[in-house]
Amino acid sequence: MIKMTKKDLDATKQKYAEADRNWIKVGFSTCGIAAGAKEVYDTLVEESRKHSADVEIKKCGCVGMCSAEPLVEVHVKNMPTVFYGKVDKEVATKIMEKHVCGKMLVNDKIYDLKLN
């Protein structure tokens, strides 16, 4: 057991601050899981390995767009950060191939975007 102090908090904050790198977040709450988030996550991980993609894949909570679950948020440098909704295996494969590797957004599946 470590006894953290304010100083340790600050150090941890610095260390884990979101660096500007590529990432994918998969909504992993009750609703997302019920809609099939696990298969989507597994597909993304497998595909990223296949393409040796430079991307971190994370499980997150629910952003609230329940009717569009499973939801996948994708951030690729120099591209808009977007939410793909109703993602299945096929779309997950496309996200990895087209969006992450090909730097092209996938048609007909974007439900929202994050503005900075």
Binding site: K6, L9, K15, K59, G61, M79, D108, I110
Partner: protein, 579 residues
């Protein structure tokens, strides 16, 4: 960042023309030789509804609605190439959500404490432990104007102050995660998506009131929320964020989880306390309030999940900042679970004082395809309805109350023209009757009698006298019930009676259900002039109530018909009438 153009046909009726439009837009880009520099994307949702073809140009985020084909060259020339809005054409951005409670939901990995710390997690706790006296913490929360998000809206800072001043060798803080309102799930979402923010809020509260022990009371129906809170607590223990000498200070605080077991009444403070004590969830009369005499007779502060998730942000940004958001009496934001007959159901966090219409139409896209919104219901089984005509109502504690509804925990159910208001009232009342603990007579007997009357009405056997009686029993229950459950159980009935008396009258006087929902009042008939004698209804009927053949046509035997509506659904030429 490269140029990106989003397009989407947002028209509610008619064929989705996004693809045709995409072709035209792409053609224009090709003419200019831009097709490789600009990404043109068809999106599934563009955040605008019912405003025709909509185009969004990124990264500047220019928005154009009701775009016609001949507008495209100007958009390409000015916005895509020039990086400026087309004069007089750009639309205002739609009202946006403001995320305080949901700030981390979907952003961080809820199972990683480092992710939370990286987003300023536990900084607020460190701040109060080193810089604030407990009194000052309570004062800061008082300044913020934060009120309880569980429904009643009691000022949180005041509650902390009362518990702080109460006499007792041991005090407790409880997080009420017994989210029982069917159709509200924001607490689950926060517990699952950002468990540490609730733990931090609770620990700050514990410091403010002087509690060394806290309890999470969570519904057993939320296994994932329980798992994530357990994990988060473990991580805190390992790092000295819970336990003795928190973050190097002299403050000690520990947490335990207690599970609910499927009793709605346990969301009521005194019943919740009984349940944590391992007893039946029977409420007890107040006063004494839990702040004075609560869990095991000791001063106890009970806060809702959403309330607690607000605390760390208020501490970091200051009470005054929080008080700057919202209305005169309702500060900050509120998370709503917008569900039911709505295009985009989900969680929405908006500043207090946002109009209902902005939530239902602006953010959630209004009704499902081809339907019209009729009303919303807020506050669950304790709340009431707000008809479409009053959608300019602002969401804050007082405005909703004035409309005969309540804020409640934040369920917002959208209903359309297919929903019968009497049926809705019956649904909620049935819920309360099931969940009544049976301790006090007004709730136990009153509820049952009211339900019987409502069943009579929906079965077509009701009279005007029954409606009067419904009102009378309602008032008696409101006045005489022991706890909030019984006092508020008649609200859905009173509110629907108030706004939709005509629907009740139709059930009683004409024996008709205008929404065609109440099975016993619905009749299906084949209109021979429209019938093409295809026999689909004959095949679909599960009870053989339809007789005839392809030559003579078909007939429904009303004595056999069970009003399941299957014939109505399969009839292609719409030759079956319902009413």
């Amino acid at each position: 960042m490269g140029k990106t153009v989003f397009i989407k046909d947002t028209a509610i009726t008619g064929k989705d023309r996004t693809r045709d439009f995409y072709g035209v837009f792409l053609g224009t880009l090709r003419e200019k030789g831009l097709e490789n520099e600009v990404q043109l994307v068809r999106v599934a949702d563009i955040g605008i509804y019912g405003q025709g073809m909509t185009v969004r140009v990124l990264p500047e985020n220019f928005l154009y609605t009701n775009v016609q084909e001949n507008d495209i060259p100007a958009i390409v020339q000015d916005s895509v190439v020039g990086g400026r809005p087309v004069e007089g054409k750009a639309s205002a951005q739609p009202s946006k959500q403001l995320r305080i409670v949901l700030r981390n939901c979907g952003v961080i990995d809820p199972e990683s404490i480092e992710d939370y710390i990286a987003r300023d997690g536990y900084q607020a706790l460190a701040k109060v432990l080193t810089e604030y006296t407990p009194e000052k913490v309570a004062q800061e929360i008082k300044n913020s104007g934060l009120r309880g998000r569980g429904g009643a809206g009691f000022p949180t800072g005041l509650k902390w102050d009362i518990t702080r001043k109460a006499q007792g060798d041991q005090k407790y803080i409880i997080c009420n995660g017994d989210e029982g309102d069917p159709g509200a799930y924001m607490d689950r979402s926060v517990l699952e998506g950002d468990p540490h923010s609730v733990i931090e809020g609770m620990t700050i509260g514990a410091y403010a009131i002087g509690a060394s022990k806290g309890y999470f009371y969570i519904r057993a129906e939320y296994p994932l929320a329980i798992e994530r809170i357990e994990k988060a607590m473990r991580q805190c223990h390992e790092r000295g964020i819970l336990g003795n000498g928190i973050l190097g200070s002299s403050f000690n605080f520990d947490l335990e989880i207690r599970l609910g077991a499927g009793a709605f009444v346990c969301g009521e403070e005194t019943a919740l306390i009984a349940s944590i004590e391992g007893k039946r969830g029977y409420p007890s009369p107040r006063p004494p309030f839990p702040s004075i005499k609560g869990l095991w007779g000791r001063p106890t502060c009970i806060n809702n999940v959403e309330t607690l998730a607000n605390i760390p942000v208020i501490v970091m940004k200051g009470g005054a900042w929080f008080a700057g958001i919202g209305t005169e009496t309702s500060k900050g934001t509120k998370v709503f679970a917008v569900t039911g007959k709505v295009k985009n159901s989900g969680l929405v966090e908006v500043p207090m004082g946002t109009a209902v219409e902005d939530v239902v139409y602006g953010i959630c896209g209004g009704a499902m395809a081809g339907k019209n919104v009729k009303a919303i219901q807020t506050g669950g089984p304790s709340g009431g309805v707000i008809p479409k005509e009053f959608f300019q109502t602002k969401v804050d504690y007082e405005s909703l109350q004035k409309m005969g509804s309540i804020m409640g925990s934040g369920g917002m159910i959208v209903m359309d023209e297919d929903d019968c208001m009497v049926d809705i009232a019956k649904f909620y009342l049935g819920f309360c009757v099931d969940e009544s603990c049976g301790k006090c007579a007004p709730c136990r007997i009153g509820g049952t009698q009211m339900l019987k009357l409502l069943v009579k009405v929906t079965d077509g056997e009701g009279t005007q006298k029954d409606l009067d009686q419904l009102e009378q029993i309602s008032f008696a229950m409101q006045k005489a019930s022991l706890c909030g459950l019984g006092q508020t159980a008649p609200n859905p009935v009173l509110s629907t009676l108030h706004y939709y008396r005509a629907e009740y009258d139709a059930h009683v006087d004409k024996k008709k259900c205008p929404a065609c929902k109440c099975a016993k009042l619905v009749r299906f008939m084949i209109m021979s002039e429209k019938c093409v004698k295809c026999g689909m209804c004959f095949k679909a009927c599960p009870v053989g109530a339809i007789s005839g053949n392809r030559e003579s046509g078909y007939l429904i035997d009303q004595t056999k018909c069970i009003r399941c509506g299957q014939c109505f659904e399969v009839c292609k030429p719409r030759a079956i009438s319902r009413g």
